[in-house]
């Protein structure tokens, strides 16, 4: 084997050396920050993914040292490999920001914007993308498209209207399971994710499609309408699992485990795939060995309320009250209809409704 060849690329005026064969997107992610183009369909752990959503378009202003001609069109950075001496413009190019705003508009054209009732809200890549690269209004004046509902079994909920057809779940099923039973049917704007003919997704690792889905098209049925993700506290935990690594993130409220997901890195990509048993069936804190709180970028809405590295003001009640504790007038739970201590939200069957608290 010859020595690994390194290419020098300049992305948004930042220079970096990367091994030959690296894509522009991966090189930009090494620099990090705003230089990294957004990606809705590319997933570094899934072979063959990328190139479809067109949000990662960049301008190549210089092809390479040998052939300095610029590329005629914007290129998908996730599927274009770097050349030596390549110069790439991402946020420094008005053509790119313009095209990206166009792509965001296209992606949102038929997206229902039901974020207030969507379980993905708060950790949705399309939300982030629209905030960062989209425009406030829409120029679309027509009915958004709808689909016939498909049932994918007891674990996975499909909302086809929210789907942006990134094909990640298709690649996941192809590459993690030995038989794929769902796929993209039909074509064009009426293409949809479905099983043919009506079928449950039952493979041991199929739950990972929930984690790879960039929007709320595939969500966890056992977590459906149970809580908002930003009210939950993510904890790293593990268990001895015969099928997978057992390394997960628990999403807790108090001692209750509301849902289990794989651990995701800063680009929202899964670090270790987990099995269905860990994800859907182990919903007790006692099933898990808790390692500690998971660090989430403090810019994420999930971090709201989880103050990291902040100084809390000192409690002075005791000092001024000659060492006496504050007196509780009554226990709120004995008076209130909600938040009854006897009700474990994560253990009830189906979405929580008011009768769960009152009866």
């Amino acid at each position: 084997m010859s020595e690994q060849q390194f290419f020098k690329v300049i992305i948004d005026n930042v220079s970096i050396d990367v091994p030959a064969g690296t894509t522009i997107l991966e090189a930009a992610r090494k620099i990090g920050g705003d230089v990294a183009p957004p990606a809705m369909c590319f997933y570094s752990k899934l072979k063959g993914s990328g190139g479809k959503c067109r949000t990662c378009l960049v301008e190549v202003s210089k092809g390479s040292e040998k052939d300095p001609r610029p590329m005629p069109k914007l290129v998908a950075s996730c599927r274009t490999t770097v050349m030596d001496g390549m110069e790439v413009k991402n946020i420094t190019s008005s053509k790119v920001t313009d095209a990206r705003a166009g792509v965001v508009e296209f992606l949102l054209l038929n997206h229902p914007l039901d974020c207030p009732i969507c379980d993905q809200a708060g950790e949705c890549h399309l939300q982030d993308l629209s905030y960062e690269h989209g425009k406030a209004g829409t120029r679309y004046e027509f009915q958004r498209r709808t689909f016939k509902k498909h049932n994918l079994g007891p674990y996975i909920q499909l909302h086809m209207t929210r789907c942006i057809l990134c094909y990640r779940c298709v690649y996941t099923a192809d590459q993690l399971t030995n038989s794929r039973s769902h796929g993209v049917l039909d074509r064009g704007d009426h293409a949809e994710i479905a099983t043919f003919i009506e079928n449950n997704l039952e493979n041991d690792f199929i739950g990972n499609v929930i984690d790879v889905c960039p929007v709320g098209a595939l969500t966890d049925k056992t977590f459906r309408f149970k809580n908002r993700v930003w009210f939950l506290k993510p904890l790293d935990a593990h268990r001895d699992c015969p099928k997978c690594t057992g390394k997960v993130t628990l999403w807790n409220r108090g001692d209750e485990v509301f849902r289990v997901t794989a651990r995701k890195d800063e680009w929202g990509e899964v670090e270790d795939w987990i099995c269905n048993e860990c994800r859907f069936d182990k919903k007790k804190t006692s099933d898990w060995v808790i390692e500690g709180p998971r660090n989430i970028s403090r810019h994420s809405v999930i971090s709201q309320g989880h103050y990291v590295n902040t100084i809390t003001s000192q409690e002075t009640f005791e000092a001024v009250n000659e060492g006496r504790q504050p007196k509780l007038l009554f226990d709120i739970h004995s008076k209130s209809d909600v938040n009854k201590t006897g009700v474990s939200l994560s253990l009830i069957d189906g979405p929580a409704v008011s009768t769960d608290f009152t009866s």
């Binding site: 914007l74 296209f106 054209l109």
Partner: protein, 452 residues
């Protein structure tokens, strides 16, 4: 009388069958190629001929063939793209239906050049009766030793298989065709790698149009240099045009690329003029995805020169005042045709045929169709026209395959050249349902400033 190289024998009864085709001098090019030439010398002839891809893009065929990778021990393939789905184009159907042996002869010669032992014809599903014709021709050729093992004792083996598509326009795009041929969903692949490096089953592959491969036969027969002498400049040889629309004589015509557009439309040898004594309003010279041109810009370029039927002249002026040769689907519109309705029809086609893989094309084509439908039915707004322009500019160039461009160009050209007709539709929401904007000034002489 113009030179004919492909259709010169098409009028002979039963030329479809081997015996007649052979009697009329068929398979002599193949005999010449395999016995007296090497793959390198044939490639050299094709390069010299200046033959350009007849499927639409017009890429030089010899150059395309020379790109094919030749790794040791990996089979190579030639795929014939017979998925002719472009609205307005039907020249390949004619060739395959009446001269199947010409295609097979061209395929075997080309396979010999590229070293393809298994060659595929991918034919669109709607041509339901043609696979039978082709398969019959293949078995006839095989029975007479022009196909199969050790052809003419040269040691070259070649088999041709006919594969039917399932009715998707997108499968005419070469990488989508390859996916479909492999039995997968016809989604275009992301390039690079190009098919010449990794095509069918990751093997080096060349995908060529039916007409391109058939044109190899006369090139071998008369020689590359002689072929290059026909036509003008970089538009060498002959081209099949499928003329349709409001003309007296629709059909497939072979032209040698030296005639003017005006002659092609009005001459009795070709289209025979506009039907019912109407006047010419507009024309799409190369299949539905190339820009539409109003009569004045079609017959003369913006500089006032006569426009000819060849690659260079038709694209003179770029997209601002020109169009493209494309696949040769010549669609003529007379003064009674409505450009808005016409554009809406095309937009509906592209919305229906988008594969849905990349977002600008999937969402944008549907959006354009809805807006055009509104304008066509008198529900449009003035801002819709600018919106359409903006949508098409966001699609063009930002998609994986050229279908996005093909969907954007007709809309762009219609607005560019016929904006007043769109505005008339918006301003007259009730009249436009019953009346037509008519020919207006679209056939007027263009004012060419005299440059001292």
């Amino acid at each position: 009388m113009a030179v004919k190289l492909l259709l010169d024998k098409a009028h002979i009864p039963n030329i479809r069958y081997y015996d007649v085709y052979r009697r009329e001098g068929g398979y002599t090019s193949l005999e010449k190629a395999l016995t007296s030439m090497t793959p390198e010398s044939i490639l050299e002839e094709v390069k010299k001929s200046g033959l350009r891809g007849r499927g639409g893009a017009g890429f030089p065929t010899g150059l395309k063939w020379s790109f094919i990778a030749k790794p040791e021990g990996v089979p190579r393939h030639l795929v014939c793209n017979a998925d002719e789905s472009e609205p307005g184009t039907f020249k390949d159907r004619y060739l395959m239906e009446f001269l199947p042996h010409l295609l097979i002869e061209g395929l075997v010669i080309s396979s010999f050049v590229l070293g393809s032992n298994a060659t595929y014809i991918y034919i669109r599903g709607e041509y339901a009766w043609i696979p039978d014709i082709l398969e019959q021709a293949i078995s006839e050729a095989k029975a007479n030793g022009w196909l199969g093992k050790n052809i003419l004792g040269t040691g070259f083996d070649c088999e041709i298989y006919v594969q039917r598509g399932a009715g998707a326009y997108i499968c005419g795009e070469e990488t989508a065709l390859i996916e479909s041929l492999e039995g997968k969903r016809g989604n275009p692949r992301i390039k690079p790698p190009f098919p010449a490096i990794k095509g069918v089953w990751d093997r080096p592959t060349v995908v060529n149009n039916v007409e391109t491969l058939a044109a190899v036969v006369p090139i071998i027969r008369i020689g590359g240099e002689e072929y290059a002498r026909i036509g003008v400049g970089r538009s060498s040889g002959t081209k099949l045009m499928s003329a349709c629309g409001n003309i007296n004589k629709p059909g497939v015509y072979e032209i040698d690329m030296t005639i003017s557009v005006e002659e092609f439309i009005y001459s009795d040898e070709f289209c025979g003029g506009i039907a019912n004594g109407k006047r010419l309003k507009a024309c799409i010279p190369g299949g539905s995805s190339v820009p539409i041109l109003p009569a004045n810009l079609l017959l003369k370029t913006a500089k006032g020169e006569t426009r000819y039927m060849n690659y260079e002249s038709l694209s003179d002026g770029g997209f601002a005042t020109g169009s493209m040769m494309g696949s040769g689907g010549f669609i003529v519109l007379d003064e009674d045709q409505c450009i808005v309705k016409h554009t809406f029809t095309l937009a509906r086609f592209y919305r229906h045929e988008s594969c849905g893989q990349c977002s600008p094309c999937r969402e944008g084509t549907g959006w354009m169709e809805k807006i055009l439908k509104n304008i066509d039915t008198g529900k449009g707004k003035m801002s819709d026209i600018d919106l359409l322009w903006d949508i098409q500019s966001k699609i063009e160039g930002n998609t994986i395959c050229p279908l996005g461009d093909a969907a954007a160009w007709p809309v762009a050209a219609a607005i560019r050249h016929f904006r007043d007709e769109f505005e008339w539709h918006v301003k007259n929401p009730t009249t436009c349902l019953t009346k037509n904007y008519g020919i207006a000034h679209y056939a007027d002489e263009i004012h060419v400033p005299v440059i001292a």
